[in-house]
């Protein structure tokens, strides 16, 4: 099955990758670097803190004095005192998000942009303090207990996304650039002038991807475990299989992009054009829950969204691959359709 020529070409793919220091670094260390930087930056979610402007009341009262003291001592509140115009400037700068002033009747007046969710949260938080100081008694007793959901940390969310991102960029750039520069340098033409079978060349690129996938997959998994104790709740084999499916989809897309291009800047631009929107819209770093519905539904059909969602469902929710109907279908469709078109369009020189 594995002919001598296919074996040699696959070895060639690996050597190209291994001996290109920038490619090697990009694939092996970038995801780990992202993981470390973002994982540590967001690993200890501190309680949200609010910038609040205090506008001194015209007629200070016992209540306003008491409330001022309580607000100033609250660790989640950064209280700033100034004139109204100064405080309004600070709102524009984002240093505070709301202004509180007691009027002569001891009514609390809040000034804020009610369309700004952060300002609304600040208002509610401050209002609770104000009402408590005013003597509010809650009719229903309550108590909050802390639970840490399994796989619920930010870094648990992040790691599958980084794997997806890494698979996308390494497949798109790795395959695309290699083929285009080989074509430009007449090497593809030279291969065609031998009895080499064309499909072996393409298959060697797929095998090459598979080997590189193993490398980047291991890098992310090992670093994730060592640094953050990241572990899968789903089946390892399913996780890996799904990653292969993702790599196949992006390899097919790369072949399509590279099927006729002769210039390296052109393929690099084309690849960026495809990968940048997905990097931002496919929920690599942050959940898509804050997107408007139309955007979330539209981006569901992007290959990176399917890959990331699927990887997360296996890694975090412990689902088996057969439970990932839509994600599998999206990736298979991209693979098959892109590969078929690429085969039609492909030019050796």
């Amino acid at each position: 099955m594995l002919s001598r020529s296919l074996w040699q070409q696959t070895k060639c793919r690996w050597r190209e990758f291994r001996r290109e220091p920038s490619a090697f670094f990009w694939v092996m260390f970038m995801p780990v670097l992202w993981m470390v930087v973002l994982g540590f930056a967001f690993s200890k979610p501190r309680p949200e803190s609010y910038g609040v402007g205090w506008l001194a009341p015209e007629a200070p009262s016992a209540l306003s004095e008491k409330t001022h003291k309580a607000l100033a001592e609250n660790p989640q509140i950064k209280l700033q005192e100034a004139s109204l115009s100064e405080l309004e400037t600070r709102i524009k700068r984002g240093e505070i998000s709301m202004i509180l002033q007691f009027d002569p009747q001891n009514k609390a007046i809040y000034r804020l942009d009610q369309n700004n969710p952060e300002a609304m949260r600040a208002r509610n938080f401050v209002n609770d303090v104000v009402q408590n100081e005013g003597g509010r008694l809650d009719p229903v007793p309550q108590e909050s207990a802390n639970i840490q959901a399994e796989g619920g940390r930010y870094v648990d969310f992040l790691i599958p996304g980084l794997l997806g991102l890494s698979i996308m960029t390494s497949s798109l750039f790795g395959v695309g650039m290699t083929i285009v520069s080989n074509r430009k340098e007449n090497l593809l033409k030279r291969y065609l002038a031998t009895p080499m079978r064309a499909y072996e060349f393409i298959v060697s690129h797929m095998f090459g991807r598979l080997i590189i996938l193993v490398a980047e997959f291991s890098a992310v998994m090992i670093a994730g475990y060592l640094i953050f104790r990241f572990r899968l709740y789903g089946n390892f084999l399913h996780y890996f299989l799904f990653a292969i499916l993702g790599a196949a989809a992006f390899t097919a897309l790369a072949l399509l992009c590279a099927s006729r291009t002769r210039s390296v800047p052109m393929i690099s631009g084309l690849t960026n054009l495809i990968s940048l929107p997905m990097m931002m819209l496919s929920g690599v770093f942050f959940s898509k829950n804050n997107f408007p519905d139309w955007l979330r539904e539209g981006t569901a059909y992007l290959p990176l969204t399917a890959l990331n969602d699927g990887l997360r469902k296996i890694a975090l929710e412990g689902l088996p691959i057969q439970a990932l109907g839509p994600e599998v279908i999206v990736l298979v469709l991209y693979t098959v359709v892109a590969a078929l078109i690429a085969q039609r369009l492909f030019k050796w020189f």
């Binding site: 001598r4 007449n186 033409k189 002038a193 031998t194 020189f349």
Partner: protein, 310 residues
Amino acid sequence: MEPLLTAQHLRKKFGKLTAVDDITINVQAGECLALLGPNGAGKTTTVEMLEGLQTPDSGEIRIFGQSLRTARQSIMQNVGVMLQETQLYKKLTVKETLELFASFFAKSLKVDDAIAMVELSDKRDSRLEQLSGGQMQRAYLACSLINEPRLLFLDEPTTGLDPQSRRMIWDLLQKHKGRDRGILLTTHYMDEAEKLADRVAVVDHGRIIAEGSPSQLIQTHCGEQVVCFRYLGLEPAAVRDRLQAHLPWLKEAVVIHNSFELVARDPVQIITELSRASDQQNLKLAQLEMRRSTLEDVFIKLTGRSIRDA
């Protein structure tokens, strides 16, 4: 004996441009045929059709007695190819590159033997990026010889190389030539064609305008000698005006770099007439010399221009 390669009435158009316009050639076993012509003459298109990389608009190609259209896969087992301006993987070593190429063929030389053949044994484990231009081209030649091809296509094999590296490639090709092997070479270097080719086909504007062994071509079209001369401080056009009436043969001389070149069957007679006319007109010769004709002169004679200017 049947030729290794026969190609009949090849034509190829790219849009409006006719790159190859009815070319018929054959290569016999044991022979090296050179397609000689300026850049853009259609040499590369011709060779690429013979290699099966381009499909001719019309015409028939047979290699080793089989049709290239139907039997390309088996024909290529015994063909070696050196394309113009090919870059092999720079990150592979010489040995790895040859192992890769060897794997494409059912039968091949031992990789180490191929490396020794092009005298790169000491560079066997160096990456291609560490080789000089000449060494790189020798490594590429080894890739083309790895299957001991009966028919070898070389498209401008020494373009851009220094004289020493060119000589080395020529020596290697001389060694490769053999009773049952054929070479088809394209070049715009006259000395390369004269050194390697048993037969030369002069190509211009997609056609073969002359064909024969180098000495035959020179004999037929030029005679043995060329007279070159130049006048002090006088443009060639002005010289023509002054001397045309006295020297009827002057209209056949071509101007190359401000100097007249004339193919002469009787050079002594020409020189005598030339110096007499110059004396009478009071013109001072800056340079007067006689040299052996080359294929370059054949090309000039046939097209009226130098192969480098074309």
